[in-house]
């Protein structure tokens, strides 16, 4: 059997019915493009989450947070929960020797608080305002590039000072791209929720290596006048979430935070210094479990036995990340799988229609010597051919799907198309072609030549 002749015949069949062939392939095109696109998006997400894990520092630390849900046996104590307070911090400092560094933090974010930042008529919307101790910088791997970080004296005096990141600078003073020079606003006064704060430091711009290259290239083009400078500082709003978060943050001393932003919220007669998290660093990974146990012992006393706190380790987060990625993978695979099944059914349907249209032709071929196997091969190869072409168009279309997804949900994680996913997609389309060609092929091969010839 001449393979070239079979292929040529398949091409003729497809060219003979261009519209029908395209409609047939449409399911495969959709299936393959969504398969590749989902894969790319999940891969992008995975990259982002992995980056985030690295950016958040090492594994030798844990975070104590409040837990809204008490265990069942304490459900009746819900109205007595003490919450995390500075008292816990002091108790841990005094009674948990395994904990090498303890950093409390209070967070206000643009999502759960009114947060406005202003400077001479320009506004910024920071992702978060953090009140914490200077040691937090180590935990999140922050680096002050201009000016200085606030220190223990600022904390003790509750000074109205802040350290901002480049995104805030871009919003309030203009980005290097729009102004043509890098503004260093150290010493300027900005208003956070209408309260004046002096900028004493600014962090470096956080970005990946590729982002840095792209940014420098863009700067060069702007300088050479090849592209126009953006009117607003959008640059810090790009990149993966962890970078955007770090580039759009303001840090102030914890005590300043508690006094200026938190005291008015308290309903207690005496101000209770509620905090959001206590971040703990342990000397090494081996002592992590023991350290958590020690912290639990201390907190059980300060919280009068009420377990309204929880511990989060980076390991938990890594697991969560893995789980999230897996879930996205599975749901992406299911969606693409459904599309491929639909596409396969479409191909099978058309192949069935095509063979009942061509019964007479099949009869002729059999009369001049085509074996059942030759007829089967012809139909199968036509089916594979259709789905491979569909698959290849699908690969091209996946670029459009990715662009569509990116524009609908502008995400921090650039979708990444991997070679493996392309190969997998092509193999899938071949599989679909084979599976949907088998039944029509068998059916066609089983026509008796005489009956097929009689068929009108």
């Amino acid at each position: 059997m001449d393979f070239g002749a079979v292929i040529a015949n398949s091409i003729r069949e497809i060219k003979g019915h261009p519209v029908r062939s395209f409609l047939t392939m449409f399911g495969i095109i959709l299936g393959i493009s969504s398969l590749v696109a989902m894969n790319a998006v999940v891969k992008g997400m995975e990259n982002g989450l992995k980056e985030a894990l690295i950016e958040m520092g090492g594994m030798d630390k844990f975070e104590i947070g409040e837990e809204d849900e008490l265990p069942d046996y304490q459900a009746h104590l819900g109205d007595q929960i003490p919450g995390l307070t500075m008292a816990d911090v002091y108790a841990l400092q005094a009674s948990a020797p395994l904990l090498s560094q303890i950093t409390p933090a209070v967070e206000m974010s643009r999502w759960n608080s009114r947060l406005s930042v202003r400077h001479e008529g320009r506004f910024a919307r920071p992702y978060r305002l953090y009140g914490t101790w200077p040691s937090y910088m180590e935990l999140e791997d922050h680096h002050v590039q201009h000016g200085r970080m606030f220190n223990d004296i600022d904390e003790e005096m509750a000074n109205s000072v802040c350290v901002i990141s480049t995104g805030i600078r871009d919003d309030l003073f203009g980005s290097p791209e729009s102004t043509g020079e890098e503004v260093i606003p150290v010493g300027r006064t900005i208003f956070i929720n209408d309260m004046p704060f002096e900028i004493i430091g600014m962090f470096q711009h956080y970005e990946t290596e590729t982002e840095r290259k792209e940014r420098l290239e863009r700067m060069r083009l702007i300088r050479e006048g090849k592209i126009k400078a953006p009117s607003n500082g959008s640059i810090s709003r790009q990149g993966s979430f962890i970078y955007r978060l770090k580039n759009n943050s303001i840090f102030i001393p914890l005590r300043t935070m508690l006094i200026k932003f938190m005291s008015s919220k308290s309903e207690e007669p005496e101000p209770v210094q509620r905090i959001d998290t206590i971040n703990v660093r342990v000397p090494d990974l081996e002592s992590l479990d023991a350290s958590i146990q020690q912290a639990r012992n201390v907190l059980m006393i300060t919280h009068r036995g009420i377990e309204d706190f929880s511990f989060r380790t980076e390991e938990d987060m890594a697991e969560e990340v893995q789980l999230t990625i897996r879930n996205y993978r599975v749901s992406g695979a299911v969606i693409a799988g459904i599309a491929l099944v639909v596409g396969g059914v479409g191909i099978m349907n058309i192949m069935l229609a095509s063979i009942s249209e061509r019964i007479r032709e099949i009869g002729i071929c059999k009369a001049v010597g085509a074996t059942d196997a030759a007829v089967f091969n012809q139909i199968l190869i036509e089916s594979i051919f259709l789905s491979i072409i569909g698959g290849i168009i699908g690969l091209a279309a996946s670029q459009a799907v990715i662009a569509l997804i990116s524009s609908l949900t502008p995400t921090d994680n650039t979708p990444e198309v991997t070679g493996a996913s392309l190969i997998f997609a092509l193999c899938s389309s071949v599989m679909v072609g084979i599976l949907s060609g088998i039944y029509p092929g068998l059916k066609a091969s089983r026509f008796s030549p005489m009956e097929a010839l009689k068929y009108e």
């Binding site: 059997m1 001449d2 070239g4 002749a5 003729r12 069949e13 003979g16 007479r360 032709e361 009869g363 002729i364 071929c365 059999k366 009369a367 001049v368 010597g369 085509a370 074996t371 059942d372 196997a373 030759a374 008796s448 030549p449 005489m450 010839l453």
Partner: protein
């Protein structure tokens, strides 16, 4: 041994419990180089006989061989091989594949024989020359007249150098003038030494072949061999109407 041998061949169709005896025991020998016509009214079983002779169908009972190969119990793959190597078909409705060119249609049996593209082309052009259609090799069947299409179909039947060619009502779809020319082509092929079997319901056409077999109710009802009557092999154009009437009345002793 004859090229084709049938011994007590029966064919029974089972139509929902009702058994149709399309062939009720046929004994027939076709020698190499013969030009035989099978004639009979519709429903007589002549088409069934031709399908069995052409290995498009298998007999229900009896024995049959083509070129020494037993076919009554052959598997579909073997039948396909016999059709491919030993048999050529010409049909009433030409049965060319509409999307293929003339040349590609003629090449079709060679594809299943495993010829290379170059050899296929060479051989196809050769037989197209034989039927004087080589100047139309790039045309599609729809661009040809009925007579031209039938010529292409004959070329396709010849391309694999078959031992025997079956033609099922080859002039049934042509006007009488064109039909004449096709028949003439068959007689030329016969004169060239080929074995031909012509199935027709038209006694006039059947009467022009040297040997005539009449089928009625699934049996051979009558057989005429002009070679036996006249003692010499006759070309159809040598026969007059009177000759034909004469042979028609002389049953052959089996």
């Amino acid at each position: 041994m004859a090229l084709v041998e049938l011994r007590g061949v029966t064919k029974i169709y089972d139509l929902g419990g009702e058994k149709i005896h399309a062939l009720a025991g046929v004994d027939l020998d076709i020698e190499s180089g013969e030009f035989t016509s099978i004639v009979g009214p519709s429903g007589s079983g002549k088409s069934t006989l031709m399908h069995i002779l052409g290995c498009l169908d298998t007999p229900t009972g009896g024995a049959m061989s083509i070129d020494g190969i037993r076919v009554e119990k052959a598997r579909p793959k073997e039948l396909a091989r016999i059709r491919n190597r030993k048999i050529g078909f010409v049909f009433q409705f030409f049965n060319l594949l509409p999307r293929l060119t003339v040349q590609q249609n003629v090449e079709l049996p060679l594809i299943y024989m495993g010829y290379s593209a170059a050899r296929r082309r060479e051989r196809a052009m050769e037989v197209l020359g034989l039927v004087e259609m080589d100047n139309r090799s790039r045309h599609r069947p729809s661009q040809l007249s009925g007579g031209q299409q039938q010529r292409v179909a004959i070329a396709r039947a010849l391309v694999n150098e078959p031992r025997i060619i079956f033609a099922d009502e080859p002039t049934g779809n042509l006007d009488s003038n064109t039909g004449e020319k096709i028949l003439q082509l068959f007689h030329e092929l016969h004169a060239g030494g080929r074995t031909l079997v012509l199935v027709t319901h038209d006694p006039d056409i059947a009467g022009l072949t040297p040997r005539r077999i009449e089928i009625r109710d699934g049996r051979i009802a009558d057989e005429v061999d002009t070679r036996l009557v006249r003692g010499t092999e006759q070309s159809r154009f040598a026969l007059t109407r009177d000759d034909r009437d004469a042979v028609g009345d002389s049953p052959r002793e089996a």
